[in-house]
């Protein structure tokens, strides 16, 4: 390889989705990771421990005693304006819900990664998407939302780690990366994001004037709390949160379309399922069925408008999920009864095959 060519080659690496998250976190200037091992995402913390970022960027990595402790460590770090994150899989995320609710109410930025596995209960360690409701409808107590990003490749695991932090700090709210066991475990090539330095304390004081870094003489104490016993004030806090969520809905919707231009039938699917469905769409096209795929990337905010617009142009939609049918509710709300919206899903850790999806497409919507 000559020198001139060397400069044009990007650093392409082969790694697991979980590993990509760890690398991206260090590179985007994350200050602290706090986690507890659980399959199928343990490689995130394992990779961080191997990278030893405390020796390079100064990032703190700590294995906590539980997911409960992890999310509350994130709360403490986030309250100091630090870029902090945790990761887990479904049962562990359930355990974190208390802390997530507190973080949402205290309006702190942080990133939570859920590499979903089959539930309910301890369930399986195989991939699932059955935490959709938990992720986009609240999860913990109270009226709150999480910005929810659904990667479908190892590259997106890296890219959305960076994006999740950006959005979390832009809106001072927790972001969730909702992946599944397939994306976490599979290896693909990935171009890692460039290194950015961690925020200095002066930068934090500037960008996050609410951060508890120690009360300087020129300001009142900073207090991070989610408590407000006066109902009128608590309603005002809630209204502020709701306004923030409307702003997020107005500005941050992300989705991807495949073969939708002339489609008569559109499949709606996210994450791993979207990859399977893309293959099913290709197979349908070979058979002369005008099928397309719309893949929501942000599950909150949901691409309601895009889906609604298609409802005036196409014959029917099929939502495919690795669950008993959760996102399909939001698709139906967007469509509002104008065209049929059918559902196909596999449960408990089974990934549907393209053949199954094609058959469901034909049996459930094309035939009508």
């Amino acid at each position: 390889m000559n020198d001139s060519k060397k400069h044009t080659v990007k650093e392409v690496r082969l790694m697991k989705g979980n590993e990509a998250i760890a690398h991206a976190a260090v590179r985007c200037g994350c200050d602290g990771y706090f986690g507890y091992p659980i399959t199928p995402q343990s490689e995130i913390m394992e990779t961080l421990m191997e990278l030893e970022p405390w020796n390079t960027t100064g990032m703190v990595v700590l294995q906590a005693e539980s997911e409960t402790a992890s999310i509350n460590m994130v709360y403490g770090a986030a309250g100091c304006g630090k870029k902090s994150m945790t990761s887990s899989s479904s049962p562990g995320i359930s355990l974190m819900q208390e802390g997530i609710s507190y973080i949402a109410c205290a309006e702190l930025p942080c990133v939570i990664v859920n590499v979903m596995r089959g539930g309910p209960g301890l369930g399986t360690i195989q991939p699932s998407q059955a935490d959709y409701y938990q992720s986009v409808k609240g999860g913990g107590h109270g009226d709150y939302k999480l910005i929810t990003l659904a990667p479908a490749s190892v590259q997106e695991m890296a890219d959305y780690t960076v994006l999740a932090f950006e959005l979390a700090f832009k809106y001072s709210t927790p972001s969730l990366i909702l992946a599944d066991g397939v994306i976490g475990q599979m290896m693909e090539k990935v171009i890692l994001p460039p290194f950015q330095p961690r925020m200095t304390e002066a930068e934090i004081r500037e960008k996050c004037p609410w951060a508890t870094l120690g009360k300087t003489a020129d300001r009142k104490p900073n207090i991070i709390t989610s408590l407000c016993l006066q109902a009128e004030q608590m309603e005002a806090i809630n209204l502020r949160l709701q306004k923030k969520y409307r702003d997020i809905e107005d500005n941050e919707v992300l989705f991807e379309e495949f073969s939708c231009e002339d489609a008569e039938y559109i499949i709606i699917a996210f994450g791993t399922t979207a990859r399977v469905c893309q293959k099913a769409v290709e197979m349908a096209r070979v058979e002369g069925i005008k099928a397309g795929l719309l893949r929501p990337i942000t599950l909150f905010p949901f691409p309601t408008t895009a889906i609604s617009n298609y409802a005036d142009r196409i014959k029917a939609m099929l939502t495919v999920e690795m669950s008993a049918g959760q996102m399909v509710d939001d698709v139906r709300l967007a469509v509002n009864g104008r065209i049929p919206v059918e559902f196909y899903g596999r449960l408990g850790g089974i990934v549907p095959s393209p053949d199954e999806v094609l058959k469901a497409l034909k049996d459930k919507i094309v035939i009508k």
Binding site: L62, E65, A69, G76, C80, G214
Partner: protein
């Protein structure tokens, strides 16, 4: 010399520290919380650490501790204060980080967070208010409620067969290699107040010197929960709480 003549800034010997603000505290009359708040504030002032301290408030009566001390605060979910403190201290190692927790917060719902933070030897101070009762929720049994002691959920007294034994968590924490200083005090007399203040100072200094976790238990009263006057509560505490939770250093390394 008349009283009015004595009352002159030149003759001042004791006044409320500036780290404690003028917001009236919500605590019941005679509550030990107020004294402990005051001591923490005084130590912070004496160490000149107002700009470098981050306190973690619990869930319980002291949930509003952040209203009274003019320092930066985070208010934790019930029992989780040591987890918050762990992250804060690790990310800001030159700051003074302490938790302020009651017996329910520290020794029931937050037992795991407490023990693991202490066992990791986090360079934080844990101030532990032990009054053997859940004050805020109306006087229910705490993990430290004494055998036979009445509470809203043990109306006939704590029955070991039904409720298990009182938990001496401070003794347990002293066993952990991560703790450097574990001590038990009270604030019911002038001498005890002075000792408690010294202990808090030592704990804070340990935290800044990176010696490990310091735990200062304050055996306290809850006169509303105990249904006694403040003065009678102090007497009851001496007679009943001290035998179960004897004052003094459990560990000092």
């Amino acid at each position: 010399m008349t009283t009015n003549e004595i009352i002159d800034p030149a003759n001042l010997v004791y006044t409320k520290t500036k780290v404690m603000n003028d917001t009236p505290m919500h605590y019941c009359p005679g509550c030990s919380h107020g004294v402990v708040h005051k001591l923490i504030a005084e130590v912070i002032e004496e160490m000149d650490f107002q700009e470098k301290t981050i306190g973690i408030a619990p869930v319980g009566c002291a949930v509003f501790a952040y209203k009274y001390l003019d320092i930066d605060w985070q208010q934790a979910a019930h029992g989780r204060a040591p987890a918050l403190a762990t992250a804060i201290k690790r990310l800001l190692p030159d700051r003074l980080v302490f938790t302020y927790q009651g017996d329910g917060d520290l020794a029931a719902i937050g037992t795991a967070e407490t023990i693991h933070a202490a066992n990791r030897g986090e360079n934080i101070t844990i101030i532990f208010i032990n009054n053997g009762i859940y004050g805020m929720t109306g006087g229910q049994m705490a993990p430290t409620t004494l055998e036979g002691m009445k509470s809203a959920t043990t109306p006939n007294g704590r029955n070991i067969a039904l409720n298990g034994y009182p938990l001496n968590i401070t003794k347990l924490l002293a066993e952990l290699p991560g703790t450097c200083y574990v001590t038990r005090h009270s604030v019911h007399t002038v001498a005890n107040v002075r000792k408690a203040k010294k202990a808090i100072r030592k704990a804070f200094e340990n935290s800044m010197e990176g010696k490990g976790t310091s735990v200062v238990e304050i055996v306290s009263t809850c006169n509303s929960g105990w249904k006694l006057s403040p003065v009678a509560s102090n007497d009851w505490m001496v007679e009943n709480m001290f035998p179960a939770y004897p004052l003094g250093d459990l560990k000092n390394e």
